[in-house]
Every structure is written in structure tokens, then in C-alpha cells.
């Protein structure tokens, strides 16, 4: 099919398609960073701006794109796809959209490569800029932060749309005919966001965000939002020099218009959103608490008064081609006891869940305070051999129909207690509970105060007593009223 194409045209066309693919990825990923994009127009051609558009190149993104392409070009049956997905702070993820750069067999032999194809690719990039602000994922990406982050993944080959759920919509950005095929750019986006509503993410910060950990934020830049976490350097595991790919991106965008050589700018505006996982030495015993917003927070068993220890997670790339940064959940307990974090956050999280906390139904023998390495372990209740004094085990009044909470306290308290300090207990002091030797549990309190005693003034013998007094004092009162009868008459006349 490209017999009629001159070698120079073929070379130019390949270059145009290659850089078009790279710029497409840049536009898509930059549109999902969560920030407004701003680039300057320049009347003087620099030669470094492909397709006469000011689209900055984030080196990590270029690197990922080149890695996915692996020296090939999008062609017939070989599509380049950018998958945008969302990952919550709890680890759930969902694909939001897939952008596809495809090539089909329909050729236009008569079209001029260095002029028409180039200009049309430029128009297509402008269309991509417009459409990336219109799909639903844009709004989600602008709100990413604590609850979710946005992921991107670049792959080459067959388009995979199964992760978008049922009823996904497709929008075609545009097509450009070339002598070797027709380039098509389209986006398939999820419409079924049911996962989000089930997870009670109907707050201002909806589900997934795209986690993008490719972006290194320069120290002086104030553009990266604070919610993106701490910057960290991207390390390509199989390359020592990191961004070697930058070299060949400095190719001249040779067109019939631009003649000056390009000067590829390095990472002028690079982002990195990642966060550091610090595990508190003191927070190794974990209690699972229902979070305020329906999520689950991991908190240490013995938090200091009023302090919540949150976790910040440091991400290390663990899946080739898939990069993410979790939202920054900053720790408020900066007591200087932060330990070095494990490099693998998944492992670290697993380590958390293996720890034992209160209300755990475990045989007594498996758990000891020492093995838990609890904070304030010295203050944990000792001498629990006498279970009779343990209110957690035997609450004062055992009602015939226990409340669910009390039932759970019962079961966990009785199973878990023993002569050893084998689990962490938290004193559960409900509001209005009596402040005496036996802290009352909520159920008992409720039952006791459900039937309060009658008011004294309403009780019969008191009322009868007062009536007798009233009757006795009546004659005196009548005498006084008769004396002042004129006053009363005048008052009545005034009213009439």
C-alpha cells in the first residue's frame, strides 16, 4: 500500500504518527492530573512544538508510552490505548475510560503527508484537548485527593473494554486519513458508576481518582495540590539512566513549515504524586473502627487522647505498566517514633491486618500482650484471673434479650479474657453512664431509665395533702377578697 509513497514521505509519516501517539498520551494524562492546564502561545516557531501546539512533555509519561510502544507504531490491529481508572484509599479500583488510537486499512493515497496529514493531526490534537475536558472522568479527576486517586495505564495491542462495565459510551474524537491507513482516536467511558454509590462515595470527593505517580513535582513549584502527597522520584526498574528516552524525543519536527531545530525542554512541569508509608512503632496493634464516612480507618489500639494516627502510604511501583499514587492520609502523630517504612505497601498493609486488636475472637493462647508489642502495654489490665471483676466479661445486669452491642461484648469479652493479658480492652463509657464502681453498659442504662419514677407532685398522697391545706385556708382567703371587693369590681369594669 505504501508503494506509491516516497521514502521521505514514509519516513515523515512514521515520525508524525509516532509523535502524535506520544502527544496524545501526554494530553490525556495531563488532563487527568486534577489541575487546570495552561501553556503559552508563541508567535515565533521554536521547532520543538510538534503539530504547532504547546503541549508539555512529562518525561515519565513519555517513558511509559515509549515502553508500551516498544519501538512499534500504532498500526492495523495494533492499537495504542490509555486506560484511566480510579483507585480508592481502600484499594478498590474501577476503570473509568479507555482512549484508543487505532489505525484501519482505509488509505488515502492522494493526501499530502507533510502538509495535510500534519495539519489534520494538529486539529485532531486540539479536538482531544477539548474532549478530554468533557468526559465524566474529568470532573472526577479534578476532585481527586484523599479518598481516591487516578491511575493510568498504557498498553499496546488489542483494545480491552470489558472493564468499563455495561452500557459504556463511546465518543469519537476524530479521524485522519493517511496514505497507509486511517488514524482514529476515540474514547470509551464508563456510565455505570454503581460501585461508587454502593460505597457511599456520594460526597464531594467521589470515587476513584487517577493515581499518577509519574510526576515529579519540583521543590519550588506550588502548582501541585497538597493532596497529592509527597513527591518521590520515579525509578524505572530496568533502566539506570531513567529518562534515556528523552534523547530521541529531541527529533526535529520537520515539516514544510518549521525549519529550526527543536530544543526539547526537560521536565519543566513534572508532577509526582505518591505518598510515604510510615508505620508507627506504636501503632502495631490495630483496631478496626468504622470510619465516620462509612469507610474503614485503621487506628492504633491505644491512641493517645484525642489523637488519631493515620497512615501515609509510600508507593513503590509493583506492577509494570501500572502506576499509581494513593492519596495522602497524613499522620497527626508526629511523636518522632516513625519507623522506616517497608517498600512494598501491599506487604505493609497485610502486616497491619495480621495484628490482633480488641474484640477479636481468638483463642486466648495465641495472643499475648508481649507478642503484640502494644503501646502502654504496662497499663493493660492485669490479673484477669478473677473474671468476676471484669465488667467486659460479666456486665452487671444480664438482660434476657441483650442488645446486639452487648451481646458482642459478651461473646468477645468472655472468649477473649483469661488469666493472661491477651487482648486489648477499651473501656466503653456511654454517655450518661453512672460514674460509680460499675460502669453501666448502654443496654442496662436504657432499660433502667426507660421507666422513670413518677413525679412527686403528681403522686396521690401529696396531692391529697395539699388539697386539705387549701380547704383549710379558704375562709381566710374569702375574708380578704370580700374586703377588697371594690377593687375587684373596678378591675372588671376596666376590662369591659
Amino acid at each position: 500500500m505504501d508503494r506509491d509513497l516516497s521514502p521521505q514521505d514514509k519516513k515523515d509519516l512514521d515520525k508524525f504518527i509516532k509523535f502524535f501517539a506520544l502527544k496524545t498520551v501526554q494530553v490525556i494524562v495531563q488532563a487527568r492530573l486534577g489541575e487546570k492546564i495552561c501553556t503559552r502561545s508563541s508567535s515565533s516557531p521554536t521547532g520543538s512544538d510538534w503539530f504547532n501546539l504547546a503541549i508539555k512533555d512529562i518525561p515519565e509519561v513519555t517513558h511509559e508510552a515509549k515502553k508500551a510502544l516498544a519501538g512499534q507504531l500504532p498500526g492495523i490491529g495494533r492499537s495504542m490505548c490509555v486506560e484511566i481508572s480510579l483507585k480508592t484509599s481502600e484499594g478498590d479500583s474501577m476503570e473509568l475510560e479507555t482512549w484508543c488510537l487505532e489505525m484501519n486499512e482505509k488509505c488515502d493515497k492522494d493526501i499530502k503527508v507533510s502538509y495535510t496529514v500534519y495539519n489534520r493531526l494538529s486539529v485532531l490534537l486540539k479536538s482531544l484537548l477539548a474532549i478530554t475536558r468533557v468526559t465524566p472522568a474529568y470532573k472526577l479527576s479534578r476532585k481527586q485527593g484523599h479518598d481516591y486517586v487516578i491511575l493510568y495505564r498504557i498498553y499496546f495491542g488489542e483494545v480491552q473494554l470489558s472493564g468499563l462495565g455495561e452500557g459504556f459510551q463511546t465518543v469519537r474524537v476524530g479521524v485522519v486519513s493517511t496514505p497507509v491507513g486511517t488514524v482514529t482516536l476515540s474514547c470509551a467511558y464508563r456510565t455505570n458508576l454503581a460501585f461508587m454509590s454502593n460505597r457511599q462515595f456520594e460526597r464531594s470527593a467521589p470515587i476513584m481518582g487517577i493515581i499518577v505517580d509519574h510526576f515529579v513535582d519540583p521543590p519550588c513549584s506550588g502548582q501541585r495540590p497538597a493532596t497529592m502527597g509527597h513527591p518521590c522520584n520515579y525509578r524505572a526498574p530496568d533502566e539506570e539512566d531513567g529518562f534515556a528516552g528523552v534523547q530521541d524525543s529531541q527529533e526535529v519536527c520537520t515539516t514544510s513549515f518549521s525549519t529550526s531545530p527543536p530544543s526539547q525542554v526537560g521536565c519543566t512541569r513534572s508532577f509526582l504524586a505518591s505518598f510515604t508509608l510510615h508505620i508507627h512503632q506504636t501503632a502495631k496493634a490495630i483496631v478496626l473502627h468504622a470510619g465516620k464516612e462509612g469507610g474503614v480507618l485503621l487506628v492504633p489500639a491505644y491512641p493517645p487522647h484525642g489523637a488519631d494516627a493515620h497512615l501515609t502510604v509510600e508507593h513503590a511501583p509493583n506492577t509494570p505498566g501500572s502506576r499509581y499514587i494513593s492519596p495522602d492520609i497524613t499522620s497527626t502523630r508526629d511523636d518522632g517514633r516513625r519507623s522506616a517504612s517497608p517498600t512494598d505497601p501491599v506487604e505493609a498493609l497485610n502486616a497491619f491486618t495480621r495484628k490482633v486488636g480488641a474484640f477479636v475472637n481468638r483463642p486466648v493462647t495465641q495472643i499475648t500482650a508481649a507478642s503484640l508489642d502494644l503501646p502502654f502495654a504496662a497499663f493493660a489490665p492485669r490479673g484477669l484471673g478473677s473474671e468476676e471483676n471484669d465488667p467486659m466479661v460479666q456486665p452487671p445486669d444480664s438482660p434476657p434479650c441483650p442488645s446486639p452491642l452487648q451481646a458482642s461484648l459478651h461473646s468477645q469479652g468472655s472468649e477473649g479474657s483469661g488469666p493472661q493479658d491477651d487482648f486489648v480492652m477499651i473501656d466503653f463509657r456511654p454517655a450518661f453512664s453512672k460514674d460509680d464502681l460499675l460502669p453501666m453498659d448502654l443496654g442496662t442504662f436504657y432499660r433502667e431509665f426507660q421507666n422513670p419514677p413518677q413525679l412527686a407532685s403528681l403522686s396521690l398522697h401529696i396531692s391529697s395533702q395539699s388539697m386539705a391545706d387549701d380547704l383549710d385556708s379558704l375562709p381566710e382567703k374569702l375574708a380578704v377578697y370580700e374586703k377588697n371587693i371594690d377593687e375587684f369590681d373596678a378591675f372588671v369594669d376596666m376590662l369591659q
Partner: protein, 218 residues
């Protein structure tokens, strides 16, 4: 050559008129602007770079990308502002239409003036509604944002058909095709016009008058 004509229709609240018009006009102009041309010897030329800027609307749940040129933005805002004022002066149930026309100049011999030949006309019809309460306004914010998104997709679809575009001009003819008055970008020659239809529908009454006249003439 036939002029390509596209019509977009939006229904907005009065305070959303300006941003809705800016969104659509800027989206069209983004596609119809290039960098500044610099002509060299031997008939070649180089093209400057067009930057882009994201704009968050205040009254609509919408963000759009526009050309990064303050001069161009000023010109468009001025035209939209005049349209908005005319619309609000016409009455509460204002309907109007703002048109963005791309044209080429054709030099004519003296004494005839240059001809302006439109090759693409975008007409944006606006229906202005009044809303009763804040809740309705909030719903309107989101709905209009979605509608504008659909309109942007329509615009992109039309433009990517790659139908007629004026040929790239030589240096002597560049002002017949492009607006070279701006410092940083070069849109195709364009003009923005508008017309207001009041609630009675002036155009309708004109048609009725004509019909009656014709009937009586029989």
C-alpha cells in the same frame, strides 16, 4: 462553493449566557486558529505555536480549553457581552442567536469593494429561561454543563470531517484568509454577529404579515 452551516442550540439561565457562548465560540476558534505564519524565501513558511488554557465556568459545571491568547479572548468577550446585553434588554423570555462566520476575502477590481465569502457559519441559538429557586439553579448548572459537553462533541465531530478549508495562502494573500491582527495566534478571518428574537417572535410576525398580504392580494 457552498458555505457550510452548523446550528447549535442551548437553553440557559440568563447568568449562564456569557459563559455558555464563550465555551462554544472558544472551542470552535481553538480548531480554527493556527500559530502566526512567518514567511521565508522560496515560498516556505513556518508556523508559531498555539498554547491552550483551561477555563472553569463560574455559573456552569463545565471547563473548556481555549486558545491561550488574551487578545483573542478580549475580542470574543466583547462580542458575547454585547449579545448578552442585547438579550437581557429584549425582555425576560429572550431568545437570540449569535453567529460565528468564517470567511475569505476576494479581491475585486476597482470600483468594487472586496467580497467576503463565508465558508463556514456556526449559529448558536440561545433560549433564556428564568428559574424560581436555588435548587432549580443548581440542577440547571449541571444540566447545562452536560449539554455544553454534548455541543463540544458536536463541534468536534463537524470539524473532524475535514471538509473545505481555504488553501494556505501566499504571503501577499494571507490577509484574505487569516486574521493577522493578533500578536500571538492567527485565526481564520471571522466575524461575530447576533440577532435577538423577542418573546413575541418578531420573525414570526413578519411572516404572518406577509401571509396575510399575500392572501389579500389574491
Amino acid at each position: 462553493m457552498n458555505c457550510r452551516s452548523e446550528v447549535l442550540e442551548v437553553t440557559v439561565e440568563s447568568r449562564q449566557v456569557e459563559e455558555a457562548m464563550l465555551a462554544l465560540l472558544h472551542t470552535i476558534l481553538l480548531h480554527r486558529s493556527t500559530g502566526k505564519f512567518h514567511y521565508k524565501k522560496e515560498g516556505t513558511y513556518s508556523i508559531g505555536t498555539v498554547g491552550t488554557l483551561d477555563f472553569d465556568c463560574d455559573y456552569i459545571d463545565f471547563t473548556f480549553a481555549r486558545v491561550s491568547s488574551e487578545e483573542l479572548d478580549r475580542v470574543i468577550r466583547k462580542a458575547v457581552s454585547e449579545f448578552k446585553d442585547a438579550l437581557s434588554n429584549s425582555g425576560s423570555d429572550g431568545m437570540g442567536q449569535i453567529s460565528l462566520e468564517f470567511y475569505q476575502k476576494k479581491k475585486s477590481r476597482w470600483p468594487f469593494s472586496d467580497e467576503c465569502i463565508p465558508w463556514e457559519v456556526w449559529s448558536i441559538k440561545v433560549n433564556v429561561v428564568n428559574l424560581a429557586n436555588e435548587q432549580e439553579r443548581q440542577i440547571c448548572r449541571e444540566k447545562v454543563g452536560e449539554k455544553l459537553g454534548e455541543k463540544v462533541i458536536n463541534v468536534v465531530e463537524v470539524i473532524n470531517r475535514h471538509e473545505y478549508l481555504p488553501k494556505m495562502p501566499t504571503q501577499s494573500e494571507v490577509d484574505n484568509v487569516f486574521d493577522t491582527s493578533l500578536k500571538d495566534v492567527q485565526p481564520y478571518l471571522y466575524k461575530i454577529t447576533y440577532q435577538i428574537t423577542d418573546s413575541l417572535g418578531t420573525s414570526v410576525s413578519t411572516t404572518m404579515r406577509r401571509l396575510i398580504k399575500d392572501t389579500l392580494a389574491l
